[in-house]
Subunit: 350 residues, 2 copies
Amino acid sequence: MRCDFALSSKGERKFITIRLKAQSLRVIFFKRGEKYILIAVNQFIRIMSLLTVGTVAFDDIETPGGRAEKVVGGAATYIALAASYFTRDIRIVSVVGDDFPTEELGDLQSRGVDLQGLQIRKGEKSFFWAGRYRNNMNERDTLETQLNVLADFDPILPESYKNVPFLMLGNLTPSVQQQVIEQMHQRPKLIALDTMNFWMNTAMDGLLKVLKMIDILIINDEEARQLSGEYSLVRAARAIHALGPRFLVIKKGEHGALLFEGDQVFFAPALPLEEIVDPTGAGDTFAGGFMGYLTKTQDTSFENMKRAVIHGSAMASFCVEAFSIERLKTLTEQEINDRILQFARLVNFD
Amino acid sequence: MRCDFALSSKGERKFITIRLKAQSLRVIFFKRGEKYILIAVNQFIRIMSLLTVGTVAFDDIETPGGRAEKVVGGAATYIALAASYFTRDIRIVSVVGDDFPTEELGDLQSRGVDLQGLQIRKGEKSFFWAGRYRNNMNERDTLETQLNVLADFDPILPESYKNVPFLMLGNLTPSVQQQVIEQMHQRPKLIALDTMNFWMNTAMDGLLKVLKMIDILIINDEEARQLSGEYSLVRAARAIHALGPRFLVIKKGEHGALLFEGDQVFFAPALPLEEIVDPTGAGDTFAGGFMGYLTKTQDTSFENMKRAVIHGSAMASFCVEAFSIERLKTLTEQEINDRILQFARLVNFD
């Protein structure tokens, strides 16, 4: 465990600040001659909490190997569940209808997810998406989208959410993402954002605006190419940095993920898997694992971002092993650590 | 430098074997009482040589960014050039017409490539291929193929080639690849083979036969899927191991390469590049760098194969920086070492 000491003084008062991993103690005293007079011991707990905004929804999923009907889905659900393995203080801003099962909400709560910001609309229906994956699991067709409660979603942040230091904006209308940032009392230490082609086609102005307000953009390769107009991902990264985000994560599905900051680049592979049951939510699970790890470690250096990318990739590799959020409900710390080790073995050479 | 000593005896004779990196000295003597009688000092030089069989040809190449006409190409050319940065004893078995420029042959020779096994057919034309790359550089269309001298290619190995310990069979008719193996006096320490969909469609029996005779199959992901009938590359690898090859390298182009041996797997990324000028020959360059490194190090453990995959990837990353073989003519050891370091930085995390 890391533990730092610092000595400082202000006039006659002397301070000893002791920093542990997630909290600091400050011992305040006078020194009179050889005598120490203790005044106070203040404890500051650094808030390791993550706020995520996104859909909480139902999915119908068809894959070449099976189907699942009206199962739990939604970006915020996957993000929160994945992050819950790294931090137990997660706030959600989202909206569901009263058709959403209470039991599932209870499951989220029991994993440390605060639902104060989840609006439950009486007499309305939750967002619904139906899709079918093609044979290679890399492409999917949307069969149906019912916006329902999402149609006029107005994200309202509870007061207690407005100082959260880590913010993950799931894929939503850019203006809604912006509204969330604008409600914060102080700018979060780190803001990450996911988006998609649809918003580039229909709300590019809004997207460009919100891109200037964030730190990390998390998108897939196709989206990076569309946003930048560059095929080379190295050039795409440079163009996207110029739009605002200091960090860029490009997800390449079964081909791994790239992390860019300036001229630095890091690559994390996807784990070669024998079987992919359901890719739904893998990207959001990646984002949740990534931001969960950063929230836990409170360290936004490039070196630590690399580790975060590996943790995100590990969580995504679990996600695809079962339909819906099933696999994300039952993981153990040991399973996660073993998988991280598998990633290290996969790419490690001397 | 590694240097091992070993003591042994046979009857009255005693031996001291001194192994240096690529050679061993054996000192043979009698011990009579306290007296040593020297009998002989034998020097064994381990042959660090690589034999490659494949095309030496002309290409017409069109990319979205440019074109090159009647430039030097061919699998054996790329393999030999890439390998020449690791070993200076490379033998080629191939065939060209007398239209092939002498100057280019001289260039190959000056890089340590022995051309005794290169048949030059008078009055005939060299193999010619014309292709056009699509916008993303990942797909290409063959515009023209002229077999010419390749139509009735009979690979004849010079005597001096028949004991070479490392053999790289470039993409050719499986029966031709088999003929080469059968001409060897002793089974090479390591036989690698490249092939393509075309032979799976037209000569599967021959391919299955030769697969039982080799150690390493080097193919791309699409070919691995077709050969195994499995979409998952993990399952494809298992199915291909069962066909004969103990090692399998699956090249995924811009998405890197996977190495499999039994249940062990290693992944090497491709370097994210700003610009790809011409992907022609990248796969063969990979194979050349890979086998060149193994020939140099004489170590076929999984750990060393990992390094070989990285060296192959590094060489391929240079290949695509210019049309034809241009970039492979001018590399320096420093440039190669720097790039290997870039690969390490790209994937390394703690």
